[in-house]
Amino acid sequence: MTYVEKLRDPTSETSPTRRARLAPPASLDGKTVALMDIGKSRGKEFIDRLEGHFRKAGIATKRYAKPTNTKVAPLAVMQQIAAEAQLAVIALSD
């Protein structure tokens, strides 16, 4: 497969060439946080601790998990997170 490696910018070039990260929300009120266990060892412990902190703060959470840490999350999982939550924490632990 041969892909091109350079394109020309069609915009007015007022934004960086790299995509900007989304700004963090001003408040978590009313939002649901996805807690994503990526499947590495002790990820569950990390997620449990986070879940407790969120619960104390009165913030709703939902838990999700990847089948394996060696591959990207299945599309269905990502779509489910996008549909049910507004933020996500990806648990990376060893």
């Binding site: 892909y3 091109v4 490696e5 350079k6 394109l7 020309r8 910018d9 069609p10 915009t11 007015s12 070039e13 007022t14 060439t17 995509r19």
Partner: protein, 484 residues
């Protein structure tokens, strides 16, 4: 060109097997090889010519590009790393001057023209400039990873209207720029909402992405200039909650020369020029101007024409006055009309047989624009199909008679339209109850009549306008001549 690509001294011949003249002079090339240092750059076959020791296959045409070869065979003599003489095609006297007596070519005709170099074939030149030359392009380069799919990269960067775009590579942009006489750095205008200056080069990039051919460029530029006319009010149109978006109507010989559709399914899919010219305008607005749906574009529902909405008028009947001429453009000139179109509303009338019947019937359909009880809340385009047009033509009605007939038929007593009348809250203020109210502006602006469509079907199309048109002095359809 890197020095390593050429010999410092001796003869160079650029040739291709597909050229009869190159084949004709194959014995001459063999003779020159025996007489002294000769390098042949073969464009299409590494085994041609036979009997020459130094044949270099110029498959990527890099040497041909750097040597500015326009025709083959081309014979060049180098001395001290510099070109000192050149002969193009086969001309015995010239070859003898450049290469000496070994180029006699006994038995050959005195002269035979060569063939075009592969390096100047259509589309190749721009690719070679992009690869080996100076493009002159000013837009910043966006580097992709080696395994990145460029179409997906365009999506990820927000450059798309939701459909895949053609990745804007240098060679495609250069080809697009070849479609216009205008300089790449010329400013076409400031694109709302951000009022960003837009160069011809930026238009070309977005035209590439839209899928345009280079010969569409003058039309795309004309469309953009019309859209930027302050009277068109592009900023207001793109940020409205209403349905409307820019509708592009093309008149003049260019419509045929670039293959636009004014016939069967003229308002539908399937024609590249119709589809991509309208799309190019929307991509310029999105990418250069920053007109993003959900951001500044606040349309409640929008309409599918906001992907692209462009067609040509059927000018096949010399008795018909085309839209552009009606709006002040000289006959035979290319022109674009920009209207604030909300989408296609089908109009059916299979019973009217006289102009009088049909004009009253059309008025009933046109009264539905916006709301049947609202007036002067936007104008309309009426796309008259061939079968409906024939009723007017057979009745001896010209465009202007149709316009006047519709204008009269589109008057209603204010009392029927007032708030609450007919048990419908919507309508006009009751202070107009004793007046006769015009649905649209007077001709020629109220109903823009265009001929288009396939030969069968007693259908026409009504395209409602935008309520912003209610202030005539501030917002109207715009017609502009297209520059080359």
């Amino acid at each position: 060109m890197p020095d390593s690509l050429l010999p410092r001294d001796g003869l160079v011949i650029v040739a291709k097997r597909d050229c009869p003249t190159c084949v004709l002079v194959e014995p001459v090339m063999q003779n020159l090889d025996r007489a002294g240092p000769l390098t042949v750059f073969s464009q299409d076959d590494p085994t041609f010519p036979s009997g020459v020791r130094s044949v270099i296959y110029d498959s990527e045409l890099e040497r041909s590009f750097h040597l500015k070869i326009e025709a083959v065979p081309t014979l060049i003599r180098f001395a001290g790393g510099q070109e000192v003489e050149r002969a193009v095609g086969w001309h015995r006297t010239e070859w003898l001057r450049v290469a000496g007596e070994a180029a006699e070519g006994e038995g050959l005709p005195a002269w035979q023209p060569g063939c075009g170099s592969k390096s100047v074939e259509p589309g190749v030149q721009e690719a070679l400039i992009a690869r080996y030359g100076e493009t002159g392009l000013q837009s910043r380069a966006i580097a992709l990873g080696h395994w990145d799919d460029p179409i997906e990269a365009c999506f990820e960067r927000g450059w798309s209207d939701g459909l895949p775009v053609v990745p804007p590579t240098d060679e495609r942009i250069l080809r697009m720029l070849a479609g216009t006489e205008r300089k790449p750095d010329e400013i076409v205008g400031s694109i709302p909402p951000n009022l960003s200056p837009c160069t011809v080069e930026k238009v070309a990039i977005n035209a590439v992405m839209a899928g345009c051919k280079p010969e569409y460029m003058p039309v795309v530029l004309g469309v953009l200039e019309a859209a930027l006319d302050p009277l068109f009010t592009l900023h207001g149109l793109l940020c409205t909650t209403h349905f409307s978006g820019p509708l592009v109507i093309i008149n003049g010989p260019v419509a045929k020369s670039i293959g636009m559709n004014s016939g069967v399914n003229a308002l539908g899919q399937g024609n590249r020029a119709n589809a991509t010219i309208g799309r190019a305008l929307q991509l310029v607005v999105r990418n250069v101007g920053g007109g993003i749906p959900g951001a500044i574009d606040r349309a409640t529902l929008g309409n599918p024409g906001k992907y692209t909405f462009c067609f040509a008028e059927d000018e096949s009947d010399p008795a018909w006055e085309p839209l552009a001429q009606r709006r002040g453009i000289a006959a035979g000139r290319n022109a674009v009309t920009l209207f604030h179109g909300e989408g296609v509303h089908g109009f059916i009338d299979q019973k009217s047989r006289t102009p009088e019947e049909l004009v009253r019937s059309l008025a009933m359909g046109l009264f539905g624009v916006g709301h049947p009880k609202l007036v002067r809340a936007g104008n309309a385009v009426l796309v008259l199909s061939p079968e409906h047009y024939r009723i007017f033509k057979d009745g001896g009605w010209s465009r202007r008679q149709i316009e006047d007939g519709l204008y009269e038929a589109l008057k209603r007593p204010g009392k029927d339209l007032a708030w609450g009348a007919q048990n419908v809250a919507e309508g006009i203020p009751p202070k107009h109850a004793d007046e006769m109210m015009d649905k649209f502006d007077p001709p020629p602006d109220g109903v823009l009549i265009v001929r288009a469509g396939g030969p069968a079907g007693l259908f026409s199309a009504i395209i409602g306008g935008w309520p912003g048109q209610r202030v005539r002095e501030e917002c109207q359809a715009v017609t502009r001549e297209i520059r080359p």
